[in-house]
């Protein structure tokens, strides 16, 4: 018997842009892609959910500020509370922060300009909690390097000192921007993120948000494939929920 094919839901908000890319990427990774419409409460029986990149509601007012009130977000919140795996990519990360499902916020890049480039991120905690398991439910070992693209104008992660302390202490910083050799420094911080943070986990470890775009780094014909381990985590977490 082959492994069950998990259903991965991708929520399309008005202004979502990388929704079709996320659907294509999870299909390429072996999942069944499921489109979810922002105005509906149904998540389409998804085993995991992606909030994709883009400019939901034009990023007007604040990134994610309007999308987080969508009916589908009530379902996403309930799904996450019940332990369902949720991945927020770029605008999806911003929406999760606005919705309070992840701590902190994402503000304008330090350099003020939109930045689109391939770069390296370092895995800090391949799963939340700082421990390292070796199974499918981890993205990778600490220090592992992934080549992924970023493309955003508001990706500078900020949080209160308390929150930051907790994130670091609880092993919930998922990724940091790094040099190609894995060194973390301001020279390789593309947006001025606090402590070069590129992605964070929620407390329960089932919600992950990151600014880089793993869905654009899965197809070897297009470039490096550093997105695969990230989506693999989501697929594995989803598979674990598929009733046997």
């Amino acid at each position: 018997m082959s492994e069950p094919r998990p259903r991965i839901g991708v929520v399309t908000f008005p202004g979502s842009l990388d929704d079709r890319d996320a659907l294509r990427a999870v299909a390429l990774m072996g999942a069944e892609p499921v489109s979810v419409w922002h105005a509906h409460r149904s998540l389409g029986d998804a085993d995991a959910v992606i909030l994709p990149g883009g400019f939901s509601y034009g990023d007007y007012l604040r990134t994610g500020a309007i999308a987080r009130f969508a009916p589908a977000m009530e379902s996403v919140a309930a799904f996450a509370a019940a332990g369902g795996p949720v991945l927020g990519i770029c605008n999806g990360f911003q929406i999760l922060c606005e919705a309070g499902l992840l701590p902190g916020a994402l503000v304008r890049n330090k350099g003020l300009a939109f930045v689109c480039r391939w770069l390296t991120i370092r895995v800090e905690n391949g799963e939340a909690g700082g421990h390292e398991s070796s199974g499918n439910l981890t993205i990778g070992r600490r220090g592992e390097l992934l080549s992924v693209p970023i493309k955003h104008g508001e990706g500078r992660f900020v949080a209160s000192p308390d929150t930051l302390e907790r994130l670091e202490g609880d092993g919930r910083v998922a990724f940091r921007y790094a040099s190609p050799g894995g060194e973390v420094s301001e020279d390789f911080n593309p947006n001025g993120s606090t402590a070069s943070i590129a992605g964070v986990w929620n407390e329960a470890g089932n919600v992950l948000g990151l600014m880089p775009h793993p869905e654009h780094a899965v197809d070897p014909d297009l470039g490096p494939t550093g997105g695969q381990p990230i989506l693999q985590w989501l697929l594995s977490a989803a598979r674990a929920r598929v009733p046997a």
């Binding site: 007012l61 916020a105 503000v107 003020l112 900020v158």
Partner: protein
């Protein structure tokens, strides 16, 4: 009654405001060497119906807390609340 309200939404103190910094850095070369502490935030203007000014203000405070600002990164301030005269009275002073 109709009120026009102006809300200012600002990045919290202590958060880096690169836009403010860029403005501040550009000013001296334009001849202003006497300016500091520049912060760039948002100004949101809106009109709303409310029974009285206090109610209008209270509603905008709630709106700002829940939606117009993000308390993780921003503070807000109601900068102005003014009554909008009905059109037929537009040239009269309110009593």
């Amino acid at each position: 009654m109709s009120y026009r309200v102006v809300v200012g939404v600002r990045l919290k103190e202590g958060l880096l405001d690169p836009q403010g910094k860029a403005v501040e850095a550009a000013l001296p070369s334009l001849g202003w060497t006497n300016v500091s502490g520049v912060r760039v935030g948002k100004e949101i203007e809106l009109e709303l119906d409310a029974p009285d000014e206090a109610a209008a203000r209270a509603q905008v405070v709630e709106m700002s807390e829940r939606f117009l600002s993000n308390p993780v990164i921003e503070t807000f301030e109601i900068l102005r609340v003014s009554e909008i005269m009905a059109l037929s009275q537009s040239n009269q002073k309110a009593t």
